[in-house]
Amino acid sequence: MSEINTKVTIAGVELKNPVMTASGTFGSGMEYGQFVDLNKIGAVVTKGVSNVPWEGNPTPRVAEVYGGMLNAIGLQNPGVDVLCERDLPFLQRYDTRVVVNVCGKTTEDYVEVVERLGDEPVDLLEINVSCPNVKEGAIAFGQRAEALYEITKAVKAKAKQPIIMKLSPNVTDITEMAKAAEAAGADAVSLINTITGMKIDIHRRTFALANKTGGLSGPAIKPVAVRMVYQAAHAVKIPVIGMGGIASAADAIEFILAGASAVAVGAMNFHNPYTTEEIVQGIEAYMRKYGVTDLCELVGVVE
């Protein structure tokens, strides 16, 4: 049988395979590089970075729930300068694409980070307008189509790299959001970010998280994510990157069949630190089993 081709292209950037890491679950690759060969995965998406260091939320920041987890880290990050000085040089040593997730409180914050990254070794920018755990910025831009359009336009005007808008599932109609991003010039969209949730500790009679609410991730959210990826992929022409509870190659293929051009693994890294590499192997096995020579043939075939 002929060689299989797992390459995918997002906004002109070729990935050796469609498996990425979901922002916030993989640091900047350094920690999980002890478990997986970063050269084997399509792209590393770094944890959200802002113009200045952010302290994040008080603890407890994480709680387990059935089939998933809640987090309210609050986008703690060391600031873009540390990312450029420490993390990007580390990632440059690997043959993988580098996607930097960008967060901010104001439009100016986002633009500042994007401009700072202009000449850095970064392949793609993922603009986080969907984190449910910070009070200002972030999700405020991601829940109204007009606001999303404006921030996308402002960032796109200054970005040297292609931009991926990361969408929130905490909206009434995901297609409106995807269309707004596309209309404003986004090169791709990624979805879903976490779904806002809550857990109450019945013994202490208080919230499990100090932030009261947190973002739900893990296998529990996968059907919601598949549905939204399917809807978004049918609403826009730009590539859709799918994520939300991906635990196996079977899950990844489900997203691809629904219309995702690439996928990202998030909370499951915590359950099994080898997940990303295992999914790459599993996708190849699936392609061989069904005689698929080019992965792109699978994207969105379930109509």
Binding site: Y32, G56, T59, M268, F270, H271
Partner: protein, 262 residues
Amino acid sequence: MRKEMAVILSQTKIASGIYSMWIKTELAKEAGAGQFIAVYTKSDAMLLPRPISICEVDKAGGAIRIVYRIAGAGTAEFSGYTEGDTVSILGILGNGYDIDGISGGGNPSEKALILGGGIGIPPMLELVKEWTAINRECYSVLGYRDELFLDKEFEAYGSVYIATEDGSAGTKGNVLDAVRENHLRADVIFACGPMPMLRAVKQYSEQEGIRAYISLEERMACGVGACLGCVCKTTKKDSHSNVNNARICTDGPVFLAEEVDI
């Protein structure tokens, strides 16, 4: 550091809701006092591994002992395992007590005050073993609500003092009440236990001018320093985070008390 399948060598209930388990694992070679492993349940519904401190290490035999309390469905599942069962673990995690570094070049008569409270007692057993193995002395002060466990095992490594909340054994009160009642003096303090106890130990160490190393606990997700779920406040800017937060899983769980703001 890796995830691997370990085999249960033995499991015993040592007090109500408290279990002692020996597991066979190659990771034992890398393990030391104050470090921990993350233990996975067999249910996919429970995504996150449970961080459990290492109670004893048998490097020659390639085995680790954990002593844990049933705190929920995950630890309840672990308590049902018997000899020969397998369990998936991630380790060895965290920075433990750097015995050589702490005692290095110091006075060989240096004496340690070892304070353990509740389920913070188990990691102190490996610590007293390692501390006395380099010919240093220690007092162990163990605090319980009521029912005692592991206390007899500490006796092989020096004098042991007990504190109980209900006064049923030893000093009525907490570990510091026992320290004061018995006029215990030492050159260095090691402590693990609930946060109110650690706050009191930090304050005591500052008042007395004694270095204290404390082991912190927090809800964890990744266990390897990537997710920033389990942070604690630090008194100075942390070099990794660039803010006043350190990761308990990788920068700790053992910290010099003066470096953390608890």
